[in-house]
């Protein structure tokens, strides 16, 4: 009986230790550097734009990066392209329908092929991407960089750690109902996405 109790206590302490090590990083960025860049090929010039309305949180344990989970949210209305008419089209019901679908989300459920070298971890994040109300399972490559005790350099008088996430991947417009009728020789079917974001965990 004593042995069983000891085993349970030991297991509990390990679980507690594991939980204690995991930190929650908040990706709301007061500096406005966090951004998602998108690119679609088109005949005259590629449609390039970015979004900086990023939020979300990620649970990351520097001792066990493979256990990382979290959700990143992009405010659809923050998507910007330099041509005003193009932006109007992009936000319209035919394209992203900003009024009905206010958020684009990626929820990471697990990491695969995890490789850690120092503070840097590369992996494939398995999760779901929700865009314009359509949810699709996706696996995307991610690079996580853990910057211990660097939060105060970014936000004075606030101690803590930073987690930088970078990812580049491609999605198909029609998979998410983004103007599926648009001719592919006028606007490419593929959308290239690049995410460069940093989250903070204050201590």
């Amino acid at each position: 009986m004593k042995k069983q109790i000891a085993t349970v206590l030991l297991a509990s302490s390990f679980t507690f230790a594991a939980l204690a090590e995991s930190q929650t990083f908040d990706f709301k960025d007061p500096k406005g550097v966090n951004n998602a860049v998108f690119k679609l090929d088109a005949p005259l010039e590629a449609i390039n734009g970015s979004a900086n309305g990023i939020s979300g949180s990620v649970n990351f344990d520097p001792e066990n990066p493979g256990a990382t989970k979290g959700k990143i949210v992009v405010a659809t209305s923050s998507l910007h392209v330099p041509n005003p008419m193009m932006k109007e089209h992009l936000h319209s019901a035919q394209w992203l329908d900003v009024k009905q679908h206010e958020e684009i989300t990626f929820e990471a459920k697990e990491l695969k092929n995890v490789k850690t070298n120092g503070d840097k971890t590369t992996a494939d994040a398995v999760g779901t991407l929700t865009l314009k109300g359509n949810t699709k399972d996706m696996t995307i490559p991610v690079t996580l960089t853990f910057l211990k005790d660097k939060l105060s350099l970014r936000v004075p008088n606030l101690n803590g750690d930073l987690l930088v996430i970078r990812s580049s991947f491609t999605i198909n417009r029609s998979d998410f109902g983004i103007n599926p009728g648009a001719p592919k020789d006028k606007v490419s079917e593929e959308i290239e996405l690049t995410l460069s974001i940093a989250g903070a965990a204050a201590k």
Partner: protein, 86 residues
């Protein structure tokens, strides 16, 4: 009136070409905001923000040429003034 419309049409086209060349001869679409790169030295992240700025593109040129052509066309509706000696 005919001459005025023709001069106005030519001035619009010429003005648009000069503006287009002066503002970078952008062969893409017209832009009303321009990207500004921002770098976070702590994380090494490079972000993009936009500031107001006008960069005319080929649609701006096409609009000017169309307007100039339209004015030149309309000018043909006015008869040429002939001076008569009295």
């Amino acid at each position: 009136m005919r001459r005025i419309l023709q001069i106005l049409g030519a001035a619009i086209v010429l003005g648009a070409v000069v503006t287009w060349l002066a503002l970078g001869a952008n062969r893409g679409w017209t832009k009303t905001t321009v990207p500004v790169k921002i770098v976070d030295e702590v994380t090494g992240l490079e972000g993009e923000t936009y500031k107001d700025g006008f960069v005319p593109g080929v649609d701006f040129l096409a609009g000017a040429v169309l307007t100039g052509g339209l004015l030149a066309g309309v000018s043909l509706l006015f008869s040429r003034r002939t001076k008569t000696k009295s």
